[in-house]
């Protein structure tokens, strides 16, 4: 028994030395999280801020001029005037502007409440980018509503009756996308470290035959997998903590859950990512192919099907079904909930259960495959 412990210790030591001696491993574990957190924290912003807007006015009236001024005053627009639709169309195609507003000659007739046959104002958006197009249209509508209220007030009329919505966002009152993107993006970083790095390292050992040599030397497959798992698990936990600390202290994302649950879910997710990496390398036994496969089986699903940017509930049923076997999906939900909502038992239990099942499944399959290959 003591003998086995010594053997396991030296295996782990060998693995740790290998990690420390390769600059690329340390780069991916320490530099990569920092770079990515900064990119996610400052580069990815779904709350559209300032868009370039073209304006064309076919109307010389004071009301139309005030409308252009209102658009200029809006903090969401950077306005440039043009002299023809042709010109605006060219700018839209070249992505110099994200949309434009055409003010027609019937504007005053509308204000005077005379019936008009065609709309007085046309908003055109560059829908090749649908999310921005939505923002352009709703900002322009907002500015128009302000202008309309003021025009009516000048004419001595009260505001038009309209339905109004009073919006409130729970957990994230300012609706900053960073607050839910950053906790979710930790998933991507952990997937790269857990699955990609391990897949490469272990596949190299199979490629060179050192794995088989160890097994032939009497090391059991439990010990072998354990010695691969433990050092990378530790490495992953360190980068997990770097990510969490950056999220909380550099980007000021509030954390409302309990730290123990955070560490628990982080560790469980790490196990599942390591499991995928080990499984792929054990099955493929070739660095180049293992890297490609890890990219497609772990990284891309974590980007696309985890819900960290793209809402899972909006996807069609077959895609949602596929996403239930993606561990990243459970981790993203758990992280967003822990950071924003706190310890919501129903959500966290479901996530932890999914993550534990995935970890057990991938690690179990790896164990089975290690044996089968040797027989």
């Amino acid at each position: 028994m003591r003998h086995a412990a010594v053997r396991f210790y030296s295996l782990c030591k060998k693995e740790t030395l290998q990690i420390i001696r390769d600059p690329s491993t340390l780069l991916i574990a320490f530099l990569f999280p920092v770079v990515l957190m900064f990119v996610f924290g400052s580069g990815i912003n779904l709350d559209s801020s300032v868009v370039e807007l073209g304006v064309l006015s076919h109307n010389d009236s004071p009301a139309a001029r005030r409308l252009v001024d209102t658009l200029r005053m809006s903090p969401n627009f950077s306005v440039s005037e043009a002299s023809s639709v042709q010109e605006l169309g060219d700018q839209l195609r070249a992505e110099k502007i994200q949309g434009f507003v055409v003010i027609g000659p019937t504007l005053e007739r509308y204000l005077a409440q005379t019936s008009i046959s065609s709309p007085a104002i046309e908003i055109v958006t560059d829908a090749a980018e649908p999310n921005t197009a939505n923002f352009v249209a709703s900002y322009a509508r907002g500015a128009l509503a302000v202008w309309q209220r003021e025009e009516r007030a000048q004419l001595g009329l009260g505001p038009l009756p309209s339905w109004s919505l009073e919006m409130r966002s729970w957990f994230n009152p300012s609706m900053t996308s960073r607050n839910f993107l950053l906790p979710g993006s930790v998933t991507i970083i952990m997937t790269v470290i857990g699955a990609l790095l391990t897949a490469l390292v272990v596949a190299r050992e199979w490629e060179r035959g050192t794995m088989e040599a160890l097994l032939a030397a009497g090391v059991s497959r439990w010990e072998l997998l354990g010695s691969k798992l433990l050092p990378y698990f530790a490495l992953g936990l360190v980068s997990f903590n770097i990510c969490v600390l950056l999220t909380c202290y550099v980007f000021d994302v509030p954390f409302r859950g309990s730290v123990w649950l955070l560490m628990g879910t982080g560790a469980t997710f790490l196990c599942s990512a390591l499991g995928i990496g080990l499984l792929l390398s054990t099955v493929l036994r070739n660095q180049y192919n293992a890297a490609q496969a890890a990219l497609n089986a772990a990284f891309l699903p974590a980007m696309m099907l985890s819900g960290f940017v793209f809402e899972v509930s909006s996807m069609p049923l077959p895609v949602r079904a596929v996403s239930t076997i993606v561990p990243a999906r459970y981790f993203v939900t758990a992280m967003q909930t822990l950071f924003q909502a706190g310890d919501v038992t129903a959500v966290l239990t479901r996530s932890l259960l999914g993550l534990s099942l995935a970890s057990a499944g991938f690690l179990g399959l790896t164990l089975l495959n290690t044996r089968r290959r040797l027989e």
């Binding site: 992505e95 339905w163 991507i188 180049y288």
Partner: protein
């Protein structure tokens, strides 16, 4: 001259055999493309569809009934769940059973009948505030279609919105051209970044160096398979998006293919640069990742470039992925012509020349 060509041909043949030679590698280059083509356009969407909207109706009058009735007929909301109060509204949001909750205050219908409707409370989930905002804008659009007492009806509405290039704001029309860029990026980089490192790791680089091939020929030999793989993958996606998804190709197909060449060359430059810097495949792969992750995130695919802080926007000029997404989207959806994206094209050429020259220099220095 003639002998150079013969040598190049032999080298390119060898490189192609490495990349496309065995079945497993070939499968790994084609299968992911098909899978991504099948899943991404459905998955990568910021649209809000088949979600649940919850309603707390403290009013129960005719106006709320009408609004609820209209909401049930929207594809954005597959389910309309009726809740009985503040506490269950909180639980529905907490446990993510509903994307948004609408709360109609008591006396709502009465106030609407007088032409002064009270405000409806809309509560969204901060964990999904982007989807929540979109869902609320759908609700606003639906409300706008319901007439209120006292509202004048002057014929046509004041405003119309036209969405050019994509009238229904379909997200997949935006994704498919970008997918051409994404998939080409990954494979061109993997093919080149791992190549020199692999030769070095396996010791075959020495064999290449003692052959009469000079470094620039070795580079041409590495660039060709990347170009061929990129063209094949781009063709698969284009066929799939035109015939599978029915997104009409607006511009010139030849122009797009012509633009793929400088794009792949810029990727080859970056890939070879990483490759010469690294001594093992593992380092090369991780190095590639260190470039490609920020590259994709800052390309305008995940979120628009004009939303980034000014410093990052300037930085994206060095990002070939950003330029190619503008070009691919422009040609595919907007029938853009070269003058529309001349700056992007120029940037791609610059990146290709600079990184190519840098890696050639580095390669020669590491040899001596």
């Amino acid at each position: 001259m003639n002998i150079t060509l013969i040598r190049l041909r032999a080298l390119i043949k060898k490189e192609l055999m490495v990349v496309l030679g065995d079945k497993q590698s070939l499968r790994l280059l084609i299968m992911p493309v098909l899978l991504q083509l099948l899943i991404f356009p459905f998955a990568a969407t910021l649209e809000v569809k088949n979600n649940t909207i919850a309603i707390v109706d403290e009013d129960g009058g005719p106006a709320t009934r009408e609004i609820i009735q209209r909401l049930t007929h929207t594809p954005a909301f597959e389910q309309v769940a009726m809740l009985d109060g503040e506490a269950s509204a909180r639980a529905a949001i907490d446990e993510q059973k509903a994307l948004i909750v609408l709360r109609f205050p008591a006396g709502f219908s009465q106030s609407a009948a007088l032409g002064r409707p009270r405000a409806i409370q809309a509560i969204s989930d901060g964990r999904r505030s982007n989807s929540g905002q979109i869902a609320i804008s759908y609700v606003q659009e639906i409300l706008g279609q319901i007439p209120i007492v006292g509202q004048p009806t002057p014929g046509a509405a004041l405003v119309t919105v036209r969405n050019w290039y994509n009238p229904n704001l379909d997200y997949y029309r935006f994704i498919l051209p970008s997918l051409v860029a994404l998939i080409v990026t990954f494979s061109a980089l993997i093919v080149t970044a791992l190549s020199v490192a692999r030769e070095r790791e396996q010791g075959t680089l020495d064999q290449l160096l003692v052959s009469p091939l000079v470094p620039w020929m070795i580079f041409v030999g590495k660039a060709t398979p990347a170009l061929i793989v990129a063209m094949i993958q781009a063709t698969i996606i284009l066929i799939g998006s035109v015939f599978g998804y029915g997104v009409e190709f607006q511009g010139s197909l030849w122009l797009l293919y012509a633009c793929i060449v400088p794009y792949v060359l810029s990727l080859v430059g970056i890939g070879l640069f990483i490759s010469t810097l690294c001594s093992t495949q593992q380092q090369a792969f991780l190095g590639m990742f260190l470039f490609v992750m920020p590259g994709i995130l800052l390309s305008g695919y995940m979120s628009p470039v004009h939303n980034m802080p000014p410093l990052l926007q300037t930085l994206t000029w060095a990002n070939p992925i950003r330029h190619f997404i503008v070009i691919a989207k422009g040609i595919y959806l907007k029938a853009a012509v070269p003058s529309d994206f001349s700056a992007n094209l120029l940037a791609l050429l610059c990146i290709a020349v600079v990184t190519g020259a840098a890696s050639l220099l580095l390669f020669q220095r590491r040899l001596s």
